[in-house]
Symmetry: C2
Subunit: 333 residues, 2 copies
Amino acid sequence: MADVKYDVLGIGNALFDVLVRTDEAFLARHGMTKGGMSLIDEARAAAIYKDMGPATEVSGGSAANTIVGIGSLGAHAAYVGKVKDDQIGKLYVHDIRAAGVAFNTPAAKHGPATGCSYILVTGDGERTMNTYLGAAQDLSPADIDPAEIASAGIVYLEGYLWDPKNAKDAFVKAAKIAHDAKRKVALTLSDSFCVDRYRDEFLSLMRDGTVDIVFANESELHSLYMTSDFDTALKQLRNDVNLGVVTRSEKGCVVVSPGDAVAAPAFPVRQVVDTTGAGDLFAAGFLFGLARNLAYKQCGELGALAAAEVIQHIGARPQVSLKELAQQRGLTV
Amino acid sequence: MADVKYDVLGIGNALFDVLVRTDEAFLARHGMTKGGMSLIDEARAAAIYKDMGPATEVSGGSAANTIVGIGSLGAHAAYVGKVKDDQIGKLYVHDIRAAGVAFNTPAAKHGPATGCSYILVTGDGERTMNTYLGAAQDLSPADIDPAEIASAGIVYLEGYLWDPKNAKDAFVKAAKIAHDAKRKVALTLSDSFCVDRYRDEFLSLMRDGTVDIVFANESELHSLYMTSDFDTALKQLRNDVNLGVVTRSEKGCVVVSPGDAVAAPAFPVRQVVDTTGAGDLFAAGFLFGLARNLAYKQCGELGALAAAEVIQHIGARPQVSLKELAQQRGLTV
């Protein structure tokens, strides 16, 4: 088994976030499902954007947010995702690399522009995402470098990768390389509607051992097992995967494995400004803890801390060093 | 005298802000003067950006920030500034128009990219700006539409316009049109280093009546009259212009005219996150009040409110409706 070069390597849809604070009426006017992620085409993206107020832009993408968080905590991290070689793609590449994350996926020279997610943040801090995949659509198995994957202790994949046409092949290729190298594979279920679209495939990935670790929030878990009963769903998750990590917003998280179940509390926040990236940053803290062989409870506390930072400002990327923040709070990093 | 179509029309350098939180060491390493605005070329922009951490992007530009603030308070406003027809230029145009501001300056089809300001925000909230003018360099008298200028009650100009090669001609052309139409012309001195570069010209503009209203902060005022004594400088300002508005950070503002002098307090803030746009938004509130014929003290209070909103988050554009905010605070809008 070769040396671990990266504690965690993430693969996901590379998306530039265009965020705006708005009201419920906007969501209703555009027929949006509050709190969800909808895939949109270029025409709908243009229509939504035209009606949006003045925006703030921050690089995003679920797995990318997680990986940047892991880098901010002080670990070695790498990202695989597809942008175009355009102005927005250059901003995106900068933001990942500036976080100390290795990012070597070649940018597309042709085809659609760098993908964007148009994110509406309502007064309660909830975010509703409308994603134009753009160049992310073209992530393919050719973008998976076997040596890079094999050098990562944990390979982290987002469920959203099931949406672009070739990315699931990249996902499966990466998972196989990782397991051949005796590494761990983690998956986030991403979104309850994403689970609706790919339920059987996600369950197969878990049951056939393609993924070892699953991150889910309550609604994703309920969607996965088509039950409204949390305990029933949690029990099934425990049977289906080596390690299940379930976030429950202000109720904290529950971590289940065949021989263990622990909970960790959420971190108090002064004001929820924008929940975009909450789950992503929770996963960042948790995966960082796993990479450092911390106890699950400590992993959960780091996840809670990182999530708390990101929901107190606009955008899904940390605005301060998470390593310093954790040290200030007396957490192990 | 034709009807007023716009309460205020602003002319300035259209700049996209790339903001990052950093430390004093970064400023020292790059030889930056903390709190100032430095003009940089493309090569230096690339070098600074390469060394910057993960960023947040928000449309900016001094006069544009002011105009968007005036729109957010509920007035009719228009903007004149030059971007390129590129991805960032499109974001910029969106953000101005989405604020309800008229923006009809044609985007450049050729030449340099849309201008950017690379803004370093230190722990104390102070911002240090490094501006690559890009397409803003090409604002020219041809971009000044006489009918549009003549239809604005107040034409607001930024001192930074003295930096690009042809913008001062656009400035002078606009001021003449405005005065021929019996409108008011306002100028912000922009930055103490900008005053250093163009002191004599700014004083001439004031003394020959090209501008009626001047906005300055304390350091700009001291630079203008080359004195460290506030009262001496204020007395000279009072002689040189019909209306002088001087901001003093947490000490509030002082408004002087030949027959009057009033002060207004600053607005309390919970935490100064990023001072970018503080002066711009103060001017927004003040000019809004002038357009509504409010007393100077009320104008100052509106300015203080708008400035307080913008320094409590990253970026120089308001994140909430300033009209609603003012109403909540019991101010007249």
